[in-house]
Symmetry: C2
Amino acid sequence: MKIQVVRQILEWNEDKSAEIRALLKEKKVFFINLMGSPGAGKTTALKRLFTLMGDKVNIGVIEGDIAGKLDAETVQELGLPVVQLNTDGACHIEAMSIEAVLPYFDLDKLDVLIVENIGNLVCPAEFDLGEDFRLALLSVPEGDDKIEKYPLLFSRCHALGITKTDVKAAFDFDETRVAGSLRAINPHAPIFALSDKTGEGFAELAEHLLTVIGEKIG
Amino acid sequence: MKIQVVRQILEWNEDKSAEIRALLKEKKVFFINLMGSPGAGKTTALKRLFTLMGDKVNIGVIEGDIAGKLDAETVQELGLPVVQLNTDGACHIEAMSIEAVLPYFDLDKLDVLIVENIGNLVCPAEFDLGEDFRLALLSVPEGDDKIEKYPLLFSRCHALGITKTDVKAAFDFDETRVAGSLRAINPHAPIFALSDKTGEGFAELAEHLLTVIGEKIG
């Protein structure tokens, strides 16, 4: 019975995400779902990507959080249009919530919409939000076994960013293990080694995103 | 309608957790629910606590994971009785699953049962497993804003361990902010600064747990 309930929610979500996907396609908005653990560096990556891509594409941001608006404030300081989406305790964002916040954006002026999902490696992976691209982040301090332990999210991502590579020396982190475990479940997603401290990798990630965006929205 | 469904699951869970609590009380087993993000250091803390407490109390472990048995293997190497509980994709452990694994332990010989919950700051906080004590871990690399962003889990914990304090210099981590945000929602839980690298704080945490365990099971 419980499984049925979950299936029903997933089906509602699927209808909604298809609608969102159609709308954003029509409006030529590329939609990115940014996912990772609490503290994986999602907000920091957003800031970096805006700095690198902001002069080429118009970016809007949806900040998903269980409570508060800390990240939205951080992002707003950059001058990005941002909407805070509070889930009031829920562990993930559903397509219905995306539909509810889309009217806050002028979709005719937007090229890229990025939703920063709840910090969680489990539930967000199950909910299609209508996105074109799923960017997964894994930070070095979390450990090199996380793809094996939380496979769904990583199996479905279109790119993996390994963040906080500057502290690799302090942690027992084996990038080969991460790459191997990703390849076992996700043969094509490119991997970007990223560090906000040194700036490593963000230019390559931005370039990759701009290429994919260009292919999609022209 | 959706909320009703969730409530129903929570009610089933509540009945089960009350049964577990009564059984473990009768058997004089102290039950600890260990929670934190992926990579917060839950398994490492378990190992440290076993080393410090294993000669005074008989400990059993339930390793909760979405997939695989990496942590159970790590814990088993120490000679601890351990049962791997796979949630097959689910984001938290429910009391019903605890009930299902309890028969694998000889409760008459056990003093302390520790369940390592799924790495997740959201969903596990909502499900009472029948535990006597909730130990929450927050690692320095996750950032000092996490209690504000994921309040429920921290508001309900009986102790907070701040892990990986050895890398504090590499991160912009303000312990005063963490302590302040914990106090705002949880007036009494003690805070332990922990490092597996240096060993800091684990003796104090073990001593605190042994005191609380002693008060409960005599």
